[in-house]
Symmetry: C2
Subunit: 541 residues, 2 copies
C-alpha cells in the first residue's frame, strides 16, 4: 500500500525566507556595523532587505547563474550581511573565503571553488592585487565600498559595491528554489592539512538555524543584541547572521577591530547581550577587562568554541563579570553546531565544583545530530564518560561529500570527525584531543587538552599548548609551551610543580618552554602543526 | 544550467527521531503521569522509548498498514504518549479523537477517518460501548490498561494495552519514512460548524516543533518541567509531547483531573516550571489559588490560547503569582502555532501599562509562518494596528487540504482563518472576533473580544461572553452574558456602568444577562453558537 501523504502546505526551506521574515516582522530592529573607515554604520532589517534585493538584481545583471559560486573576502559588516542573503537568494552559492589563510591557500581555494565574482573589503586590496593574476577565472573583483573609496591598487575588472547597488531598484522577489540546492560554501581551517570545501544546502542551513536558536543552544530572542566576533568568513559566523534574522535579534557586526578595547566599547555602547568567539578572543577580552578593572553592563551570555575552552576562563567570566559563557563544539563540516554545553534540570542541584567540571566538557548534541565514539576497528564504544575513541557524527547539517572530492568521507553513514573524546551517559562530549594531536607515550594516550586546561588555570599563564615530541625511549612525550601574562614571568620548575597531584605522574610534560607567543592558524587556533615542526627534536637528547 | 545541489547528509524529518533523541541523550529524564486509577505513574524517556517500540511491533502484528489511521480517545498520560510515537513511528497515522464531542460527532469522525484500531482510556468505556456498534470498521478497541482493569462493558473485539505490549520485545528500529508522509490527524473543535480533519506530515510536525521550542515561543530547555493541561486529544497538545522530547524536558501529564486543586498539587510536588492551557483552565486555577491563598513555588512561565486571554487574568498571574503567561493564537489547521506574544527589545523600555496593553494581543508569528489581513474583496490591508480584516496565514505547518475534502480551502496559496483582526507594524496580531461572531450594528462592526475582556476586568466577574442578537432597528446589537464569581452577585446596571468611558458609547451592550454558567464546546471554549441560538430574540422587543 502506498504511504498516505500529509496534507500540509509544501514550502521550501530557503535562506531568503529568513530575511523576508526579519523585514516583515522585525523591520526596525537594528544592524550596527563598525566599518573600516567611517566609524559606526547603523540601519535595520528592512533597509538591509531592500539592499539585498538590489544586490540580487546586480548579481543577475552581472550574469551570475544558479549554482555558481560568488566569493567574499570580508570582515563582519553590513555589506557582507547583504551578500549572505543576496547570493544564496538568487540560487547562487555564497563562498566565504578566510583572508587569514596563506596566499597559496587562497589561490588554491578560489580556483577550486571556481568563484565567478569576488567581493572584498578594502583592507584586503593589497592581497587582491596579488591574488587576481593567479585567479584568472574570477570575472569581477568588487570593492565593498563607495566609488570614492575604491582602492588604488592594480586590480583587473574592478567594480564598486555601491555603484552596483545604485543601478538597481528593489523590485524583486526571491525565487522559489529547491531547498536541497547549494547555498553556501566554506573550506575548513586547514589546521591539520589542506582546507576542504563543504557545500551547505538551504535546507541544512535552515534546520541548523532553527536548532541553533533553541534555549539550550544560543537561546536567541527578539530581546537579544548579538555580537558575533566569530568571523563571517568562516563557517557562517556560527550561523549567527541567519539565526539573528530568524528571531529578530539586534545584530552588532564588529568589523576588523577584535581586540578587547574595541569589543568592550561596542558591548557597552550597543548594549550587547550575547557574544560568540573562540578562546583567544575571550582571553583577550578578559585580559583587557582585568587590566582596566572594567565591568560589563549588559553582556550576560556567550558561546566559546573552535578549540577547547579553559575552565579558568569560563569561571572568571561567570564570577567576575556575570557572563555565562557556554562551550560549544563544532566543525566546518557540521555547519558548525555539534554540541552545546547547557546543564540539565538534575544538574542544577549539584555542588558548584561539579557544575564547573561539567562546564569544561564540550556539551551535548541538540536534536538534529547524533554522536558516537568508536575504537580503532570502528566498533562503537559505550557512552560512559570513560571510554575514549574517535568521534563520529550524523545529522541534518552534517557533510556528505566534500566539494570537488569524489570519495565520500563517510563510514557507514557517519562522518568521522578526526576528534577524539568520551561521551558520558547524559550525552556530554569531552574532547581529549584531535586524532592527529594525540600524544602516544609508550603505547598509552595522553590528552593534550587536559594538560593545557590545567596550565591555563595558573594565574600567570596567558596561553598554553601541549604537543607530543619525539622521545628516544617512549616514542613521544608531552612538551608544554606557555605564554606568560603581560609583564609576568614563568619558570619550567613552577609549571611542572603546578601539575603535581593534578594528573597522573606519567602525564606530566617532560619539559616546559616559555615563549612570547604561540603560532595561530587562520581561524585563531594554536597551530600545533607548526609547533610540532619546530620542536620535533626538543627531547631527542 | 541545472542548479547545484548541496552536499549535506539527506535525512528525513521524522517524529520517531524525537524519541530516539530523548532516549539517547535524556534517557533518565522523567515522564510523570497522573493515572485514572493508580495515582502517580513515573518513568523516563528511556523506558517510554522501549515501550513505544514494543507497541510499534504490536501494531504491526495487528496488521496496521502504512498510512492507516489508528485512533485514540484518551487523556494526557504515558500510554497516550507512547501511542503518539508508536503509531506515527511505523508510518501509520495517530488520530486523536476529542472525547468531549457529541456522540454523533464522534461516530462521524471515527468513520470519516476510517480508524482501524481505537485505543481508549477506561473513563470512556461506557462511551465506547455506545460508539462501537456505529463504527463497524474499527477492527479492535484497545483498553489502555492492564488485564485486571479491562472494562466490563460490552465492547466487541476488545484488546488490552498491557497484554499487547507484553507479547513483544523492543528489538525494533524505526523505519525511514518519507518525511512528507502523514503522521497525525486531528479534527477542528466544531465551534463554528462541523469538525474538519487536518492531516499533519512528519515534516510539518518537526518544523513546527523546532519553531515551538524557540525562546520567543515556549522556550523549552532540558531545565524545564512542562505540564500540558491542553489535551493530547486536541491539536497534539499544542505540540508539547513532541517539543519536550526534542529538548529533553521533564513532562508531567495530568490525566483527567484538570481542576485548580489537582493541578496545584502536581505543580508543587513535581516542581513544574511551565504550563499550557486554555483561558478557562487558567481561570479555574486562579480562582482556586485566590480562594486558598496559595503561592506557586516553581511555576514561572505558561502559555494561554485557544480563545482570547483576558488581560486581568494575565496581570493577576504576573503580579500575584510571578507567573508570566504568554498569549498564543493557533488553530487545528496550523498545528496549532500561529502567533506567540513575547516582547521585543524595544518594548522592555515601555511603561508597564503599555507593556500590558501589548500582552493582550495574540502575538507575532515565529519564523515559518506569515500572516496578512484582507478586506471583503481579498485586498491586503496595511499592518498598521488599525485596519481590521480577515486573517490569512501560510507556512510550513499550515493545512493545504482538509482530510477527505476535495476542494482546497486556500485562496491564492493562503489559508483563510475565519478570524478577524488587525496586525500592527511590529507584526503583533490582535484578534477582534471570529468572522462568524462579529456583531454588525447598523452596518458597523463591534468586536466581542474587547467587550469580553473589559467585563472580565470587573473584580466580581468570573466569565463573560458578548454575542450579537437580533435588533429591530440596528440589525444586531451586543448582549453581555456574565457569570459572577462564586458567592458574588452582579447587576445589569453596574456592568453597563463599568463600560462607561472605556469604549465608544455605541459599543456598550444593550442588555446584560447574569447566568450561572456558560455553555462550553468540546475544547473548553464558550459556545457562542449555542448562546446565539438561545438569546436570538432577546432584544426583539
Ligand atoms: N569546543 C571545542 N573544544 C575542542 N576542540 C574544538 C572545539 N570546537 C572546535 N574544536 C576543534 O575544531 C575543529 C573544527 O575546526 P574547523 O572546522 O574550523 O577546521 P579545523 O579542523 O581546525 O581545520 P582542518 O579540518 O582543515 O584541519 C574540530 O574538529 C575540533 O578539533
Ligand atoms: N489567543 C486567541 N485569541 C482569540 N482566539 C483564539 C486564540 N487562540 C485560538 N483562538 C480561536 O480558536 C480557533 C481555533 O480553534 P480550533 O482549531 O480548536 O477549532 P475551532 O475554530 O474552535 O472550531 P471549528 O473550526 O471547528 O469551528 C481560532 O480560529 C480562533 O478563533
Ligand atoms: Mg577539521
Ligand atoms: Mg476553526
Amino acid at each position: 500500500m502506498a504511504a498516505l501523504m500529509g496534507q500540509m502546505m509544501e514550502r521550501p526551506l530557503l535562506i531568503s525566507s529568513l530575511l523576508d521574515h526579519a523585514e516583515q516582522y522585525h523591520g526596525d530592529t537594528e544592524i550596527v556595523s563598525r566599518t573600516l573607515s567611517d566609524g559606526i554604520h547603523r540601519y535595520d532589517y528592512a533597509a538591509a532587505a531592500v539592499r539585498a534585493r538590489r544586490m540580487a538584481k546586480a548579481l543577475l545583471r552581472l550574469g551570475v547563474q544558479p549554482g555558481e559560486r560568488v566569493g567574499t573576502l570580508a570582515w563582519n559588516g553590513y555589506r557582507h550581511f547583504e551578500l549572505y542573503y543576496a547570493i544564496s537568494g538568487i540560487g547562487a552559492v555564497t563562498h566565504t573565503v578566510n583572508p587569514r589563510l596563506f596566499l597559496e591557500q587562497l589561490v588554491w581555494i578560489i580556483n577550486d571553488a571556481d568563484d565567478q565574482i569576488l567581493f572584498f573589503d578594502l583592507s584586503f586590496s593589497a592581497l587582491i592585487e596579488k591574488l587576481a593574476p593567479q585567479c584568472p577565472k574570477v570575472r569581477h573583483w568588487v570593492g565593498m565600498c563607495s566609488r570614492e573609496q575604491l582602492p588604488a591598487e592594480a586590480i583587473p575588472n574592478l567594480l564598486c559595491y555601491e555603484d552596483l547597488l545604485a543601478a538597481e531598484d528593489a523590485d524583486y522577489s526571491w525565487p522559489d528554489l529547491d531547498e536541497r540546492s547549494a547555498a553556501a560554501l566554506c573550506y575548513t581551517s586547514g589546521t591539520t592539512g589542506n582546507p576542504k570545501g563543504v557545500l551547505y544546502s538551504h535546507r541544512s542551513m535552515l534546520l541548523h538555524g532553527l536548532a541553533s536558536c533553541a534555549p539550550d543552544v544560543f537561546g536567541f530572542s527578539a530581546r537579544d543584541c548579538v555580537l558575533p566576533v566569530v568571523p563571517m568568513f568562516h563557517v557562517n559566523a556560527w550561523t549567527i547572521p541567519y539565526a539573528a534574522a530568524m528571531v529578530g535579534a539586534k545584530l552588532v557586526l564588529p568589523g576588523a577591530a577584535l581586540d578587547g578595547a574595541s569589543l568592550y566599547e561596542l558591548f557597552e555602547t550597543e548594549r550587547v547581550t550575547f557574544c560568540g568567539g573562540v578562546p583567544t578572543v575571550w582571553q583577550g577580552l578578559m585580559l583587557y577587562l582585568d587590566a582596566k578593572k572594567l565591568k560589563l553592563s549588559t553582556l550576560r551570555r556567550g558561546v566559546i568554541g573552535g578549540s577547547a575552552a579553559p575552565a579558568a576562563l569560563l569561571q572568571k567570566f561567570e564570577q567576575d563579570y556575570q557572563v555565562k559563557i557556554d562551550q560549544a563544539w563544532g566543525m566546518t563540516e557540521i555547519s558548525p553546531l555539534g554540541t552545546y554545553n547547557r546543564a540539565k534540570l538534575k544538574h542544577l542541584k549539584l555542588p558548584l565544583a561539579e557544575q564547573q567540571a561539567l562546564a569544561v566538557k564540550q556539551g551535548r548534541p541538540p536534536f538534529g545530530v547524533q554522536l558516537k565514539i568508536v575504537d580503532a576497528e570502528g566498533q562503537t564504544l559505550p557512552n560512559d564518560g570513560v571510554a575514549v575513541g574517535e568521534l563520529m557524527i550524523r545529522g541534518h547539517w552534517v557533510v556528505d561529500h566534500y566539494f570537488n572530492l569524489d570519495k565520500s568521507p563517510l563510514q557507514n553513514g557517519w562522518f568521522p570527525t578526526g576528534d577524539v573524546g568520551s561521551i558520558d551517559a547524559d550525552g556530554y562530549l569531552q574532547i581529549t584531543d584531535r586524532a592527529k594531536d594525540v600524544i602516544k607515550s609508550g603505547g598509552e594516550w595522553i590528552g593534550s587538552i587536559d594538560l593545557e586546561n590545567l596550565a591555563c588555570a595558573h594565574p600567570r599563564v596567558a596561553q598554553a599548548a601541549v604537543i607530543g615530541v619525539f622521545h628516544p625511549k617512549w616514542d613521544e612525550r608531552p612538551l608544554l609551551l606557555v605564554v606568560p601574562r603581560e609583564g609576568e614571568t614563568l619558570t619550567r620548575e613552577e609549571m611542572l610543580a603546578f601539575y603535581e597531584g593534578k594528573v597522573a605522574k606519567w602525564w606530566i610534560p617532560d619539559d616546559v618552554v616559555v615563549v612570547e607567543a604561540l603560532p595561530l592558524t587562520a581561524t585563531g587556533k594554536i597551530s600545533k602543526l607548526q609547533l610540532r615542526e619546530k620542536y620535533r627534536q626538543h627531547l631527542a637528547g
